[in-house]
């Protein structure tokens, strides 16, 4: 005991602490090894692998129709957009002409997915910072979207609505009415989010000026999505490389220059408004036509390599297929946004307090199955 007290260097010594893998604010099984000096973070080291399911390897044994449903299990909050990426890549390889109806429906459901993901993120962000109320409000509005999904796609979360060459089934007759109802409802409720959390003085103090990421760092770490756009890096795939129906609609790319936690928060809130405006432009103009292009029961791709990227709620999601002419790919690589965004965490968190790390992680909007795959 005496020896410990006499150790004068004790205060200046760095020590290590584990945050996770079962910490409630790590949003899953992410283990962070923190190197601390008092309460100040010197280094953050993420340790992955707790939820690795070898999805890329499993894809090498599945036919292309079956691969689609595995991507539901990666970033489960933007599952429809992940499915779309695989389908677009296969369609690109087959050089299939996709009718406008399928493109528009994919875009609408993709934007609904983005909205539901951001609503969940908003609720969880408040909860991470100690405001449980926001979680309930976020889930109240998200419930309406999951109802739309359940009615049209058949599931609330892992929808598997896309197929290479179209959709599983046509939209439900109630789809348009329900979506319009939701937009009308959510336009009234979104200002509530601002009153509850954005303008809250405690929330502002905890996020403003915390976790700064400059534009140069965002580019060099490969950060994409709202996280990078809050730093001023224009990287919206929907704008720069439009896919599906995004070339037909008018929308703004939300950019901010501050690059702190509050800027990332504002960026996502503004994206919700943009998503709603995209849906409003398309919902009344769904063209007539088939919901599926006839393809072979077992699709075989020609020999070659293809890459397709889409914008999920977290950033750029890419699918890279190498085919040897067989019914399953020789190699399939997913570029997941969460993995690259997590790599910038160490840079952003250095010099912050432990409590700030929770705020930074929330604004990165991490989904661990997306990182580990």
């Amino acid at each position: 005991m005496e020896e410990v007290i006499q150790d004068k260097d004790l205060e200046s010594k760095e020590y290590f602490i584990n945050m996770g893998p079962q910490h409630p604010s790590t949003h899953g099984v992410l283990r962070l090894v923190l190197s601390l000096d008092g309460e100040i973070i010197r280094k953050v080291e993420p340790h992955l692998g707790f939820i690795h399911r070898s999805i890329e390897k499993m894809c090498e044994h599945d036919v292309y129709n079956q691969i689609v449903h595995l991507t539901d299990r990666m970033d489960y909050l933007s599952c429809h957009i992940n499915n779309e990426a695989v389908c677009l890549c296969v369609e690109q390889a087959l050089q299939l002409e996709i009718p406008d109806r399928i493109k528009v429906i994919r875009t609408i459901i993709g934007e609904l997915t983005r909205l539901s993901s951001h609503q969940l993120w908003w609720g969880v962000m408040g909860m991470d910072l100690g405001a449980i109320t926001s979680f309930l409000y976020g889930f109240r509005d998200r419930e309406m979207i999951t109802d739309i999904f359940e009615e049209t796609c058949g599931a609330r979360l892992t929808m598997n609505y896309n197929l290479p060459g179209g959709l599983m089934f046509d939209i439900h007759p109630n789809f348009q009415k329900r979506t319009k109802d939701f937009i009308a409802h959510f336009k009234k409720k979104l200002p509530e989010y601002d009153t509850l959390l954005s303008n809250n003085v405690i929330f502002r103090q905890r996020t403003k000026g915390i976790g700064y990421l400059s534009k140069e760092d965002a580019i060099s770490y490969g950060v994409t999505g709202p996280t990078a756009r809050a730093s001023g890096f224009s990287c919206d795939v929907r704008k720069h490389h439009p896919y599906s129906g995004y070339d037909k609609v008018q929308f703004k790319e939300i950019l901010d220059t501050e690059g702190d936690c509050y800027a990332r928060y504002k960026c996502r809130i503004a994206e919700m408004w943009e998503s709603m405006s995209i849906i409003e432009q398309l919902i009344d103009n769904i063209p007539e036509g088939p919901h599926k292009v006839p393809t072979k029961a077992v699709i075989k791709l020609p020999k070659g390599e293809w890459y397709q990227k889409v914008e999920t709620a977290r950033g750029e999601f890419g699918v890279y297929i190498i085919s040897e002419g067989q019914k399953s790919p020789y190699r399939l690589k997913f570029r997941s946004p969460g993995f690259s965004n997590l790599s910038a965490l160490d840079h952003m968190a250095r010099g912050c307090k432990i409590a700030d790390l929770v705020a930074i992680m929330s604004t990165l909007d991490l989904v661990i199955p997306d990182i580990d795959r």
């Binding site: 599945d62 129709n65 079956q66 449903h69 595995l70 539901d72 299990r73 109320t133 109240r140 419930e143 109802d147 359940e150 009615e151 049209t152 796609c153 058949g154 599931a155 892992t158 598997n160 599983m168 089934f169 439900h172 509530e192 009153t195 509850l196 959390l197 303008n199 809250n200 003085v201 405690i202 502002r204 029961a297």
Partner: protein, 158 residues
Amino acid sequence: MKSIINYFKEIFSGLKSLMQGMKVTGHYFTHPKEIITQQYPENRETLKMFERFRGEVVLLHDENNEHKCTGCSACEVACPNGTIEIIPKRIEVEGRKVKAIDQFVYHLQMCTMCGLCIPACPTDAIVMANTFEHAVFDRSKLTKILNKPGSKIMDGIK
């Protein structure tokens, strides 16, 4: 002097923001009709799932205990996880030996509810049911045999 004024300004604007937030929560506290919570286990009788909801695979039987499954194994091939296992047998119909199902084994514990088996079926013998309460006490209860005992194939299905 200015810093003192700013200091008090911050305090009052902060308090104001908190009060505005309390106003929203207070509104819902006094308007319980706007809350949409469902009392789930109590509303089991009235709870109706959407018709497309994918709960589990069932083999349809009609009132004569007949089904449409020919045992072609198309669903077994379409399934990504090996959830469906068809054990065939040979039966004699009008003097000829024909393939039919002995057991339609369904491993619910491996099913991801992707729904790929439904469009794969050439005779529309299987559908996705709306049931969702799958919890059981023993894992072996999740392996189900979908064809009912004594059932046979409908006439005219090939």
